[in-house]
Symmetry: C2
């Protein structure tokens, strides 16, 4: 890549523009390759010498910081407090709850040596922290007065995956894990649903990603949970991405760990628990829902930089001054704005701003300044709007909000258009083969049908939706036996 | 502990008050025991089943969140960007820089198994991430245009300590580590000093902890660094606590890792690097600098809760309403305020608020409400101020700032009164024995004298101060040979 001299010929700008964009594979040609091209070219990650682990670069980490800040605020509004637990789990502690250890033991990293000596008991690096929280709660919770406890931690966890992809599946990833403990089963269920809805609202309002809310089947639920609830988003290629889960543990962990409290009648009771988590996987969702062949497209609310000001012929008198004025005015209006006054050509800067998904760019050159105007370009639609420079600070905050809701509506429409009904197995197989998306199909609640569908088609049950009670048939889409549950099926990441 | 019924008799309140306070050891009797009592009773931490690792509870973690937010803001103002590196370091990568591996290899935790299989190459959990950043920078840095890179990460690190104490020394701790890379030695030195000064200002302005800024001796510098700069604070017991360090690596790591760039003349050059870090140890410093025999004392700027409103006779008509009104008014004025309307007695609530170090408490009961007044009690001085309820929102923000600066000034005076000059070795030994604090003494720059002093007295060289060039003698305080360097010595955590 050479940083060529300034360049004002529109034709040349477009040519350069195209050049940079050509560096990424077209999403229609090879979606997986397009994805990895975007994460690298938009400078979200770098590959590391540590197999299966990635480096999150500033542009990627800043997205995570915005996700964190917004989620953390929403958590705290519901009374959640943050804590920090050790990253190691002694083997005996991991083994305390039977289903849980079976689910996680095969995929953890084991520490066997500390300093120069072998450990007496090996410890794993946390794949999730239920066992640590339970061990903690068994001492902290004594009386009904101590309940509920609603704790969360922001940390990294490790799962020894064989195949990895940036953000979607890596051996180490960042997340939050909430762990709550309650007096009654009802309180625990209420918190489980509350957090699932918080996750769903966050995805829709902040990331402009429409989701289906529902319950996982027995087969797909979390290791050790009574019920797992999930939000499922649909990626551009028609595959589903599980984007957040919330688990109700009942009192199973409490019994395994001895978490008991004395109730108001002074009787000893087991406590009820939940956990819920969201991860850096959300960044993968943003890329695969909103991205296009020019790179990343960020919804304004999550975008670290919302507006990039790009001067044209910046060497000419007054251009950089005006560009700086615009930047300062926007900053004052609460917009996250940057000015690209580097040596690169404007065309190159346009391509970079597009690749990085910055929602708006403001182009301003000598002619514009003469007229008191500039050109505002929307990243999501490529629409160019000529605007008075004096109006920018007034109008751009509103325009960013318009982009945010346009992006959500556009994706909701697209997602809805990719939900297909299957009434029998032939239809089901035909849809999986030819129409990537969600498949609505009735299910007899027999695990064997889930297994068969997965083996035959590689589609899995994504969830039993909350808000979609329609009985599209009264027989199982797989075996034809009577069925009452509607399930969303699909291929998934 | 029983939560007895409401109780307005002042004598009884005081009796209860005393009772709770008696639960912590007096700091004059046993400072170490006082410290561990406070961290537990103020609910900052809990001990975990993982040896040498602690659980940071909400009251402790909220302090860390405030430290993080303020430091992060100050970092970003200097152009620092956040990233995230893997938590594992392959053995071969750790071994790349000779001094560095010698310094850290004996105290790391080793992962030898991933999933069900032994690893081909063992990996340690990062004790610090110089090697990972270098491995990353060797690819990222190609041209002088790529420089400087000023990255930071917030994460946890592991060092397999034998003896541990909450916040001060634990096998896992939270920190930030900044890693920068520059074109010239001068740029690296400038950044190293800039960050040390940022740390010092942060401690003094935000934590109200006065520090000495200076340079570490050869013996005490970081493994692999050319120079290490440090800030040293003095705890209540007269022992020093190293509270933040900033390292200049020169181009040593760059040579070991091959971090080269082409300069403006198109010649290949090695880059220059720095790193700098602060940890959860700062919470230990806050406790040991400001704490007293009633528990924690938090400077208002770092306090998660700045004001606790405690109603007296809250069962009486109008008391809770007025207490809530006060809370709302203070919140609106930007104060971090809570209302304790629990079932506990006022006396118990007072003790809890004092134990947790909340800077101000507002007592309001039926008589106060009749008079339109309330009682404001300062945690740092125990001063009681009768104040009109209507004035609270106007006056408390200013009072909190007064407390902040009073706390700093008080600690600075105390610290200054504990700096002693030693002109010869007898004086030196006498001071170490009888006057806990910093000892100013000249040093011949021979490592042997440092070793001897440590063996004889257990005092170590803390730093060679920047702003204290006074030649208190021209001979080494240990060996009597000519000496030009002034050193601050002291026992340390």
């Amino acid at each position: 890549m050479s940083f060529t001299q300034l360049n004002t010929n529109k034709g040349e700008i477009m040519a350069k523009d195209k050049k940079l964009v050509e560096q990424i594979t077209s999403m229609d040609e090879d979606f997986a390759k397009w994805y990895t091209d975007v994460v690298v070219k938009a400078e979200l990650i770098a590959y590391s010498s540590v197999k299966g682990c990635m480096i999150i670069k500033p542009a990627g980490y800043a997205i995570w910081e915005n996700i964190q800040a917004e989620l953390d605020k929403r958590f705290k509004e519901t009374g959640v407090e943050n804590v920090y637990m050790p990253m190691f789990i002694p083997e005996s502690l991991l083994q305390r709850e039977k289903d849980h250890v079976e689910g996680f033991a095969p995929e953890v990293a084991w520490v066997t040596q500390g300093g120069l000596n072998p450990l007496q008991e090996k410890m794993c690096v946390r794949p999730t922290s239920e066992t640590l929280f339970c061990d903690f709660y068994k001492d902290e919770v004594q009386s009904y007065r101590d309940l509920p406890k609603c704790y969360n931690q922001w940390c990294s966890v490790v799962r020894w995956e064989k195949e990895t992809r940036p953000f979607l599946r890596s051996r180490e990833f960042l997340w939050q894990e909430g762990h709550t403990v309650h007096a009654t089963a009802e309180d625990a269920e209420e918190r489980t649903i509350q957090m699932l809805n918080l996750y769903a609202d966050f995805c829709e309002e902040f990331l402009a990603i429409p989701v289906v809310r529902g319950q996982k089947t027995e087969k797909e639920k979390f290791a050790g949970a009574e019920n797992t609830y999930t939000i499922e988003a649909l990626m551009h290629d028609g595959k589903a991405l599980q984007s957040g889960t919330s688990h109700n543990f009942g009192n199973g962990f409490a019994k395994a760990f001895g978490i008991q409290y004395t109730d108001k009648e002074n009787k000893l009771q087991y406590a009820y628990q939940t956990s819920w988590g969201m991860t850096t996987r959300l960044i993968g969702a943003i890329i695969m829902v909103h991205g296009d062949n020019s790179g990343l497209v960020l919804p304004p609310r999550v975008a670290p930089t919302q507006v990039m000001v790009i001067p044209i012929q910046q060497f000419k008198d007054g251009v950089l001054d005006k560009a700086n004025e615009i930047k300062d005015a926007l900053k004052k209006a609460g917009v996250r704005v940057k000015l690209d006054d580097s040596e690169k050509s404007p065309g190159f800067k346009f391509s970079e701003q597009e690749m990085r998904g910055i929602p708006l760019r403001v182009e301003v050159g000598p002619k514009d300044i003469e007229n008191g105007t500039c050109v505002v370009v929307r990243r999501d639609t490529s629409e160019k709007i000529t605007m008075s420079i004096d109006e920018l600070a007034d109008k751009l905050p509103g325009l960013l909000e318009t982009i945010q809701s346009d992006m959500f509506n556009r994706q909701k429409e697209r997602r809805d258009s990719k939900i297909y009904d299957a009434h029998n197995y032939d239809e089901f197989k035909d849809i999986v083969e030819n129409k990537p998306g969600f498949i609505r199909g009735m299910w007899c609640e027999d695990k064997e049908c889930e297994v068969k569908i997965k083996e035959d088609t590689s589609a899995t049950s994504r969830c039993m939706p909350f808000n979609d009670k329609e009985q599209i048939s009264d027989v199982c889409v797989c075996c034809g036996k009577p069925a009452k549950k509607l399930v969303y099926w699909g291929k998934a990441y």
